[in-house]
Amino acid sequence: MKVAYWPGCVSRGFAPELHGAMARVAPLLDIELVELDRAACCGAGVIAEHNQELADTLNARTFALAQQEIAKGADLMMNICSTCQGAQSECQERLDANTPYRDHVNETLSAEGLTYEKGIANKHLLWLLVEEIGLDAVKAKVKRPLTDLRVGPFYGCYIVRPTTRLGIDREHPRDRYLHQLIDALGGTVVDYAGQYKCCGFPIITMNQQASLTQAGRHVGDAMDAAADCLVTPCPLCHLNLDLQQPAAAGIVGRPLNMPVLHLPQLLGLALGLEPKELGMDKHVVKPSSVIDWSTSVVASAA
């Protein structure tokens, strides 16, 4: 399968291990990544908050660039960031629902010779795994089942709400896909209070106390539920849950020690890749409870 690949900003910025892990995992699943290297940031909701048309135009441009790759043989557009998925889905909803508006945005793009045609398929890796590749096929490639590993899914916000915009329905229970994937990889799903809540990242510069209280509580809840690690489809959540975890521990007043994995890292471990190849040494919270470094095998906390 060939995809027009949008890695987003953070996976090439403060969470480089995500982009790296994706590059390692892709060939194992026969995914050919054609990177959209001319595209710009999705706006993460902030550009839309500043000027909706600006965000819609930037993302229409990204879609148009992806459609050029689709015309050349890519199957669809793929991203690896929930925030990109949510922000782009929001723009796509407006662009697809109103022809005069789409024409107006395309007018701006026309100077570059680009046009967005309504109805692009833009799927997060998580959706692609379940809907395009299929969990049975993923399961068949598992070399190192995550036996006894207790994994807490952290969905966050952008990839699950609003449900209609994100195409969550009976046929597409996308708000259960992390559960299904952990299960397919042989791990044990740990449910805990914060799995669909906000990591707090969007307000880290405006209200640090509230932001880190959110992150700290969710990590604490997962510890109380005896999870070995969390897995998230969103690198921005990863920043608040991992990079900021020591600070969050200070705010919520309890010690926290919860490794947080990016989705392709969890996948890569099960597919037999080594933790270092997946950039797991770049995390602030060392994934010791996930990895036995001496043997490089996956193990739950003793």
């Binding site: 001319r38 940031c41 909803e93 570059e112 916000c157 906000c198 707090g200 405006m206 600070a247």
Partner: protein
């Protein structure tokens, strides 16, 4: 006739007893509402179950509860749909969140919701003397606020607001949507004062964490979070440099992308506080040092990458910023107002 089981959270503060759960069978068809089920329980099995309700047709906003963990109007959810989402076949009904429980499913709307509504000065303050006859307002100037006018004050969005969960003083989605109803009203004369007040409040418009829970919760399509974003845009129009760094963060983000095409995080943090050497930024950067050092230690970021951002915005991206910013008026499509086209359009 199909049977359903409702598990209802019971709590009476005066009793001195802890909250507990009671299960009741309900003998109704699946197309009847969860509220019908609760009322049947009150009628046949236990008259002491507390629920507030009135119209039973999703317009009075009285019967907000959580069903299977999600905020809904009890009268607006069919038993068969609730059953489908019930984890173990039992429909779980509990009071809304973020508000104190008065009894069973009844929460104290006054203590949280209505006080916050009062907070935003929810009435029109026109400039000058009123006209002799009615105000004449062009239709297109008023239509923008119709979305917030659809609010029925049920509190579903307040129940699940994730910012309010960690900051109870957050003004919250319902009250801020109400604020936009007046900020966006062309007859109001206090737009700037209103948005300045809401922007400067540490628990105001910049305390919203963008989690979409209120959009998901609202039974009337008000999309409170979208109204909060409108308030932020208007605060920006008035050039309000709020003490919460909300507007500065927004501006820093937009400029960052205009310059780099992709986000350069190492610049965004200091710029959100006014720039690396601004007195406001220095204490923040100092207090962030442990985090920065950890990131460097773990080779998440290298000093070279943090200081020099290789990626620059293509000229076409810069042109889009220019073109859109140069427009005389913002083009803001609201699907609630214009609706979605039929397929094939």
């Amino acid at each position: 006739m199909p049977d359903y089981t409702l598990r209802i959270r019971r709590y009476s503060p005066e009793s001195g007893e802890a909250a507990h759960w009671d299960e009741f069978p309900v003998d109704l068809e699946g197309h009847r509402s969860v509220l019908d089920g609760i009322l049947q329980i009150k009628d046949r099995l236990d008259g002491t179950v507390g629920i507030r309700c009135a119209c039973q047709q999703a317009i009075c906003g009285s019967c907000g509860v959580r069903v299977n963990g999600r905020p809904v109007l009890a009268c607006h959810l069919h038993l068969d749909e609730a059953f489908e989402r019930a984890a173990d076949g039992v429909i779980v009904v509990e009071p809304m969140g973020n508000m104190p429980v008065l009894k069973d499913l009844i929460v104290d709307m006054h203590e949280v919701h209505w006080k916050k509504i009062q907070r935003v000065t929810p009435w029109l303050i026109p400039d000058g003397d009123p006209p002799e006859r009615e105000y004449i307002v062009p239709r297109d100037k008023m239509i923008d606020v119709t979305q917030t006018m659809a609010c029925i004050q049920c509190g579903a969005c307040v129940s699940d607001c994730l910012s309010m969960e960690v900051d109870p003083l957050f003004i919250g989605p319902a009250a801020l949507a109400k604020a936009y109803r007046f900020v966006g009203d062309p007859r109001d004369g206090q737009q700037e004062q209103r948005v300045r007040d809401l922007a400067e409040d540490p628990h105001g418009i910049y305390d919203c964490t963008h989690c979409f829970n209120c959009i998901e919760a609202c039974p009337k399509g008000v999309a409170p979070m979208s109204q909060i974003m409108r308030l932020r845009r208007i605060a920006g129009d008035h050039g309000i440099e709020d003490r919460n760094n909300g507007h500065r963060h927004e501006t820093a983000f937009v400029r960052n992308i205009e310059k780099n095409g992709l986000l350069h995080e190492a610049d965004l943090l200091p710029d959100s506080y006014g720039g690396k050497f601004h007195p406001r930024a220095v204490p923040v950067l100092v207090s962030s040092l442990p985090t920065i050092v950890r990131a460097l230690q773990r080779r998440k970021v290298t000093p070279a990458r943090a200081l020099l951002h290789k990626h620059k915005a293509p000229k076409e991206v810069k042109r889009i910023f220019r073109d859109v910013h140069d427009r005389e008026e913002r083009y803001e499509l609201n699907l609630y107002v214009v609706g979605e086209e039929e397929n094939g359009q």
